[in-house]
Symmetry: C2
Subunit: 342 residues, 2 copies
């Protein structure tokens, strides 16, 4: 039986969903993999932090946060604001990093992950920033410490993308990919096809918690470009920054554009794509008219798809339907189990 001590930096919707999933799956994980775990540290932006070497009860954490309380009540140590200091004190084996990130530099997530790896923890995140800004650096650090830097949930939530090529598809080289990777814009385009205006569709996406108050990161294709950069960095092994992705958002797609496409039996989709020709990558995010012969045609709402061309298989497509914090949380759990299981 192997026991692992877990630490959380950031404990929003995804952190809560992960806590619920850990509680739900703990017996199964013990019996199936011989793995047990306890939580020794949690630090949050608005609810304080807790460190307890004997284990923090996740049920109590969820109850406290539900009641808008402070984690201080569960801590054996005085409050620690500084994340690096927190990591040094919580004596964990695994860090789940889920803080708000600055996409210009991947911070503060990048530093959190670096400190965790240097302290000998496995470093797991759902943040795309550290992947696009420091994939190679963090991966090399992880190797040097015999630990893992994993980030399955950064693209298509918990759907297996990175782990697919890491484990299930050995010796496969990704030549190109294309897909629909931003839920918000796909939902907006689908709503506009049914007659809503752009602003109505944005408002709907905001009302269900998919789009942010300032939705420009999605609308202008930034989120999609960051995901493209993640895939290129990791699956093609080529450093590429989001601003190197040719990028066009959906703002100029009008209801009449959508109607014209529909009249031709087609649909406008915000398509992400990249291809690698002898080490030179062409990557782009732009609206394209898609016909019914493509699996991208009937991708509805918040569903996403990616299609890979490799040197060993024909086109391999992965579609994830019904995403949410629980599927992102599953990606984090899968990373944990893949990092530690024999």
């Amino acid at each position: 039986m192997n026991h692992y001590k877990l630490a959380f930096i950031g404990f929003g919707n995804v952190g809560k969903a992960l806590a619920r999933l850990l509680l739900q799956k703990q017996d199964e994980i013990r019996s199936q993999y011989g793995i047990t775990f306890s939580t020794t540290g949690i630090t949050t932006g608005r609810h304080g932090s807790a460190i307890n070497p004997d284990g923090i009860d996740l049920e109590s954490v969820l109850d406290l946060l539900n009641a808008d309380g402070s984690l201080q009540d569960l801590s054996k140590l005085p409050q620690i604001q500084d994340a690096s200091n927190f990591l040094q004190h919580c004596d964990a084996n695994v860090l789940f990093e889920n803080t708000p990130v600055n996409y210009a530099n991947g911070q503060p997530a990048l530093d959190h992950l670096k400190v965790a790896l240097e302290l000998g923890m496995h470093a797991i995140t759902a943040n795309k920033g550290p992947v696009v800004h420091a994939y190679r650096q963090l991966s090399e650090l992880a190797v040097s410490k015999d630990r893992k830097f994993l980030f399955e949930s950064t693209v298509m939530d918990g759907a297996p993308i990175f782990s697919l090529f890491r484990t299930a598809l050995p010796a496969a080289r990704v030549r190109a990919f294309q897909g629909i990777l931003n839920s918000t814009t796909n939902l907006i385009l689908c709503r506009m096809e049914t007659g809503e205006s752009f602003h109505q569709a944005v408002a709907f996406a905001q009302s269900i918690g998919i789009a942010e108050t300032d939705p420009s990161g999605d609308i202008e294709g930034w989120d999609a470009a960051i995901k493209v950069a993640c895939l290129v960095n990791v699956l093609m092994g080529i450093p590429l920054k989001p601003d190197q992705v040719a990028r066009q958002g959906i703002r100029q797609i009008s209801p009449s554009d959508l109607a014209q496409a529909q009249a031709q039996g087609k649909r406008w989709k915000l398509v992400c794509s990249a291809s690698n020709e002898n080490g030179v990558v062409q990557a782009q995010v732009k609206p394209e008219m898609i016909g019914p012969d493509s699996p991208m045609f009937n991708i509805e709402g918040t569903t996403s798809i990616v299609q890979f061309e490799s040197d060993v298989l024909g086109l391999l497509s992965i579609i994830e339907s019904d995403p949410g914090p629980h599927t992102t949380a599953y990606g984090l759990l899968a990373d944990f189990l893949n990092a530690v299981r024999p």
Copy 2:
């Protein structure tokens, strides 16, 4: 550097494609995984057998078979007809088993795999028979010998299905799946939609080598039912034989049925499905009318799809386009690498 000795029983189109892939990928596999390999035994139905502890050159094998020659010329030992005897003499670490199989009992593949495991080899096959008839038995034997019994290519060729749940999706429980898993019937239905008769469509499928001379195994849904049974046995952990799958083929689907569906914006597809309710499995293969909201709608020709419902993700769909002997061969190569890499 780890060296592995490979043996082949059966060396038809898939065996040849695997030989070409091994030749193509050997340098990459050495540099990426520190794995080298040689072929110490090949036995075929019509071209004799070869055993050579110093390694049989796969280029020479392909040339010989191309010229309809006998492998005897490459052998250091006298010809051995009996497969068990062959395995005992070829001193291999890995068996690739690809012989014509009897689906009623999984033989002779089942015995080949059993002998290989008992001799301490990893046992890899593209044959569904042994999976539906002896998944548990062969898996337990493999565990007892600290070896692997792997069969990725049995369902959707080289697309990662079994390895997905074995490696990329830890602690996920498959509750249900549905999909289009038989290429021949899907191709026939697609051709009939464009105006061909059933017999014309069957003849076309035969002309491109997809359908057999007696196509009834595909047409009547047996191949699909066997694949359903494979998935249920392995991914749900429940023994199920192909004759326990409620089965209806495509013979009764007429051109006018297809036209009526098209008039409603739908298509007839031969849908495979299974669900597990508290350990009770309902499994079936039957033609269904599919609307454009399903990713099954635009599965064309020999493309295949499977959609998984699990306890941790929404619907996860995998689509494989452009299959062929080379993608089946890749599944076998992936099994080999996954069996032996650290």
